[in-house]
């Protein structure tokens, strides 16, 4: 066997049964490609870097904070930033830096769970409704129209007030919040996925799948769904920023988790009284909200720029 033949044989063997290393290599190239695509849009790259920092901070919170976020220390009230307290302390003498990080961790988790919840209900709903069409679709979409007609903020207020009424606290309160925010996201997701499915359904590969005997659910969820994720990802990313804003707003209004749980919204509200004497206390949670929402929006906008031309190209 010549060297060339041997190499060809080895290649064929590798194709026949790819090794784990080969598969990992493919994943690596896929990741590399994704980063390459991302760099085409400056907006997306900046957003991505900001998000990596944000998520990094959220994950590392227990290790990079030095104070208990709810432990009060009246001897060190309203201190300016110093070596001991990186961002100073609030009116109860709690370390602002620690509170921000713990609050952010909670906020981001709530947002992620809420959006995931919304997607996991909305996508199958919209995809199946769009794929089956006809009367099923009409009824399903009128229901969604009804939900969309109901103002989102009112819904949150209603649910949060109910939660209070039923004396839900701590983790239960957060779960109610997640449910409410996710539920409010559902109609939008359902609509978006339905309209994408309507476009995708016309393509011949769907017909080809039917011709080989693929079942309806399999076509809708296994064949069509992967083709409509791009607009959904963009939408979900922007939505994450929006959800964070809503949660902060609710707790600012005093409808979120009651103190002393660290929370950007309620911290901001509490800091209002010290606007003149210690404006920094209000500035930090404000900036944190700004940063997070901006990060998600930049990333989402950039993603749209990257994904859209490719959709048009096809």
């Amino acid at each position: 066997m010549t060297e060339l033949e041997a190499r060809k044989f080895a290649d064929l063997e590798a194709i026949r049964a790819p090794t784990l290393g080969g598969r990992l290599a493919r994943w690596r190239t896929a990741l590399g490609n994704a980063w390459h695509e991302l760099r085409k849009s400056r907006t997306a790259s900046i957003g991505a870097v900001m998000l990596v920092l944000l998520f990094g901070a959220c994950i590392a919170t227990p290790w990079i904070t030095t104070y208990d976020p709810i432990k009060q220390n009246f001897r060190e009230r309203l201190q300016p930033p110093s070596e001991k307290h990186l961002l100073g302390t609030d009116r109860m003498g709690r370390d602002i830096y620690s509170r921000l990080l713990w609050g952010g961790r909670r906020l981001v988790t709530i947002a992620l769970l809420a959006v995931t919840f919304g997607l996991s209900i909305g996508i199958p709903y919209g995809v199946l409704s769009g794929y089956f069409g006809g009367k099923v679709d009409t009824v399903a979409m009128r229901f969604v129209d009804g939900l969309l007609a109901f103002p989102g903020l009112l819904l949150y207020l209603l649910i949060v007030t109910l939660a209070r009424e039923w004396k839900m606290e701590g983790i239960y309160n957060d779960m109610v919040l997640i449910f409410a925010l996710g539920f409010a996201f559902t109609p939008e997701v359902a609509r978006l996925s339905r309209s994408s499915v309507l476009v995708e359904k016309q393509k011949e590969y769907v017909e080809a799948s039917r011709a080989i005997g693929e079942g309806s659910f399999a076509i809708a969820l296994r064949q069509i769904l992967p083709n409509i994720v791009s607009p959904l990802i963009v939408n979900a990313t922007v939505r994450l920023g929006y959800v964070i804003l809503i949660v902060a707003a609710l707790s600012f209004l005093g409808l979120g988790t009651p103190p002393p749980t660290p929370d950007w919204g309620s911290d901001l509200a509490a800091a209002r009284d010290y606007m003149e004497t210690a404006p920094l206390i209000a500035a930090f949670p404000g900036l944190a909200i700004c940063y997070t929402v901006l990060a998600f929006n930049l990333f989402g906008d950039g993603l749209r720029d990257i994904l859209d031309p490719r959709l048009a190209e096809r």
Binding site: L12, R16, A17, R26, K203, A208, Q223
Partner: protein, 329 residues
Amino acid sequence: MTDAAATLLSVKGLTKHFTLHGDIYSKLAGEKTQVLKAVDGIDFHIRRGETLGLVGESGCGKSTTARLVTRLIEPTAGEVTLKGEDLLAFSRGRMKEARKEVQLVFQDPYSSLNPRKTIMHILSRPMEIHGLAHSWAEKRERVLELLQRVGLGVEHIDRYPHEFSGGQRQRIAIARALSVDPELVIGDEPVSALDVSIQAQILNLFRELQKEFGLTYLFIAHDLSVIRHISDRVAVMYVGKIVETGPAAALFDKPLHPYTKALLAAVPEADPAKPAPRLTLQGEVSTPIDPPPGCRLCGRCPRESAVCAEIEPPLVDVGDGRQVACHNL
């Protein structure tokens, strides 16, 4: 072999009418709903191992016919008999099995392959559905064989459709059709989206595969020279009707129906010495929406007579295996 055994697929009185729903205002105004007669009672049969070419202009119902005989859409009326069994009476489960026998190759290789699936998935999925391969290794082996058979390198197996050219994609689509070992392959304009030099490659591939696997083809196209090249027998469609059928050579050398004649005269042949293309009919293609009684070619035909406007000409035998639907032969 008896004639019935030799016939793989036969179609009788196949009809598909679409009801066009006007908007609510036209309904309120009392306008009648219109009926689009996409396919209006056609008969044909395909013998084992032969190629039937179905030719016609856009909107004549040839693609609808392909979807009717594969039950991708349900016909309004008519019979479709596959290997002596009534296809339209099949239950869901039985139909799924029958899908293995009849495979489709679509026109646009850019949209007929799922852009998010690898070639491996696209070609192995049909085997999975029909239980033709069990282990992953077995599937992989068969997919590699298929790729080689349609003239693609084995290294392509884990790639995505967008990495291929139009001709290569059409080869993948053909491989998908072959993956379940069908008896009948229906090509719905499988070469019309391709460039001339690639088209020739794919036509040759169809030929080779037919010889190797004893396939039967229903080949749909609007290009008459492609139909002439690939078909043993030809059926010409015009606005939902078959107007002429017969062996390819005879039909092309001596067309009988005025529409077939007009089609052939309109083809620009790649030879300046041949007569220039011209239209021997008047006006434009008739509408399939609520067509008037009588022959569909009425008003365009040079040989028209009084009877044409009243009675629809039936498809009658004229000898030599040819059938024509015209009052004035």
